[in-house]
């Protein structure tokens, strides 16, 4: 009986959280459409969340591409189909690994930083300071960060995929001796622009919305103590990562992307 009561409390709590997140999302959307345009703040966040994530995304993409090249070659060589290495590396990266791993990396790098930054502003009364200047914090602090995360995710995903393709090329062609022409031809002939490339962009966009909303919401609503900021940051990484994996399944199952 106690377990049922606990389950009920958990369910009610989860629905409440979801409701609050929805209200928050509407407030962010409304702020995005209401003047003044926070162009400077948005560009600053694009730089912080996007440009500063380039190295981790590029290096990770290249490493994942190299692993795919190696694993793909070792598997394909058994069937005498090593000329399909480009297709294996390309489709794996574009349809699945690119968007998902970019989402997870961006959550750890940019999402956690966003939560911690907004949380620190809550702790030091900076958001209340803005309210006392008749400036809505959602408008100035939250929306530029959330929008920047939505915008940078597809771009980071594209960089992850491109560096991954070159990583696979380096191992497959440079190390394992696969013909370079075959690698690129199989890649080109197997990848469909609309189904695969646009689909990857849509996935990355959805993941950007998830990370943007969850990270800003957790920071904005954190308990105003150092432990509260720490909890909110951890929660961002956990909730956003799980959400990305769950949404990835549903997007793939429903739309075949």
């Amino acid at each position: 009986m106690k377990a049922v009561a606990q389950l009920g409390r958990w369910a009610v709590g989860s629905v409440e959280q979801l409701g609050r997140l929805t209200v928050f999302a509407v407030a962010v959307l409304r702020a995005a459409l209401t003047p003044p345009v926070r162009g400077r703040a948005f560009l600053a966040e694009l730089y912080k969340l996007g440009v500063r994530s380039l190295i981790i995304i590029g290096v990770s993409g290249f490493a994942v591409g190299m692993v795919l090249g190696l694993q793909g070659y070792n598997t394909l060589v058994r069937f005498g189909a090593t000329e399909s290495l480009g297709a294996v590396v390309g489709l794996s990266l574009i349809r699945e690994l690119g968007p998902v791993l970019t989402g997870l990396l961006a959550t750890g790098r940019a999402g956690s930083a966003t939560t911690a930054e907004i949380g620190a502003m809550v702790v030091t009364d900076q958001l209340d300071g803005l309210r006392m200047m008749s400036i809505e914090p959602v408008h100035l602090v939250v929306t530029p960060r959330a929008l920047a995360l939505v915008m940078v995710m597809p771009l980071l995903c594209a960089i992850f995929i491109v560096t991954g393709l070159w990583g696979g090329y380096l191992i497959g062609v440079g190390v394992m001796g696969v013909d370079g022409g075959s690698y690129l031809t199989s890649l080109e002939s197997s990848v469909d622009f609309v189904d695969d490339v646009v689909g990857a962009g849509i996935k990355a966009l959805v993941f950007g919305v998830l990370v943007g909303l969850i990270s800003t919401y957790r920071g904005y609503t954190c308990v105003p103590t150092s432990a509260g900021v720490s909890d909110a940051t951890t929660s961002t990484v956990v909730v956003a990562s799980v959400s990305i994996l769950v949404f990835d399944y549903f997007i793939t199952a429903l739309w075949g992307v």
């Binding site: 003044p36 030091t124 009364d125 900076q126 209340d128 300071g129 803005l130 309210r131 006392m132 200047m133 008749s134 400036i135 809505e136």
Partner: protein
């Protein structure tokens, strides 16, 4: 003096903890009112109520006749243009320079040109005795400088009401007297209604026209000289900084 700020039958609770239950008190127009009370007695909560940062579960919080507890978000934003607040830790935007912190409210609301904004910011900084700090970040300021910049920012929109949360905490005696004189000057020159939360009794007695004391289960208010003559051991304990056993109550305040 007529009341500028009037709290009527206010109840505030955080979960099971009742901070105020049926609190009623007023702050006179144009006067410096100081809120005294023990730690956790609800002094900062009272400021947050007046600022509209916290809504009571019951009662009215009237500022110049408007019930800030009932205003819509838009009306509250408009009402706050006439309320300045100096937070305990400054609450300056830490990624903005001192100049940007002060210029920000003007750029948002006043519709002034760049030269006018610059002139207004420099005038405010000069008024609080600070020059040459425009480009510094809040993290590069000393505690006293931070308080003065926070005061300058709270004054940027020429408010009718200035709320100060612990303006003297963490200051050395020289900085403390400087901030104290600044508050006095601001009040006398502009006739602003000021509500100051403080633990500092000497400053309170020098600064206050009106004192509100939050004692366990009750509130006592009046001019400081009147309170000094009251035959109330708790009031005497606070104002003369004597040792006294403060009774614990479940309800922090009950009128």
């Amino acid at each position: 003096m007529a009341a500028h700020i009037d709290l009527q039958d206010v109840r505030v609770r955080f979960g099971a903890r009742v901070v105020f239950d049926a609190l009623t008190c007023a702050f006179p127009r144009g006067a410096v009112s100081v809120i005294l009370g023990g730690s956790g007695s609800g002094k900062s909560t009272m400021l947050r109520l007046v600022a509209g940062l916290l809504r009571p579960s019951h009662g009215r919080v009237l500022v110049a006749g408007d019930d800030v507890a009932k205003l819509s978000a838009r009306d509250l934003r408009r009402a706050r243009r006439s309320i300045g607040m100096m937070f305990q830790g400054g609450a300056l935007l830490d990624s903005f320079s001192v100049f940007e912190n002060l210029a920000f409210p003007l750029r948002e609301h006043a519709g002034l040109g760049a030269e006018q904004v610059t002139a207004a910011v420099h005038a405010r900084l000069e008024a609080v005795g600070l020059t040459g700090v425009d480009r510094l970040l809040p993290g590069q300021l000393s505690g006293g400088m931070m308080k003065r910049v926070a005061l300058a920012r709270a004054m940027m929109m020429d408010p009718d009401v200035l709320l100060c949360d612990e303006p003297f905490s963490g200051l050395d005696p020289v900085s403390l007297r400087r901030v104290e004189r600044l508050l006095q000057t601001v009040n006398r020159e502009r006739g602003i209604t000021m509500v100051v939360v403080s633990h500092h009794i000497a400053s309170t007695l020098r600064l206050a026209d009106h004192v509100v004391m939050l004692l366990p289960g009750r509130v006592v208010s009046g001019p400081p000289d009147d309170l000094l003559e009251r035959d109330d051991p708790l009031v005497q304990a606070f104002l003369r900084e004597e040792d006294v056993d403060v009774p614990a109550t479940e309800v922090e305040f009950r009128a």
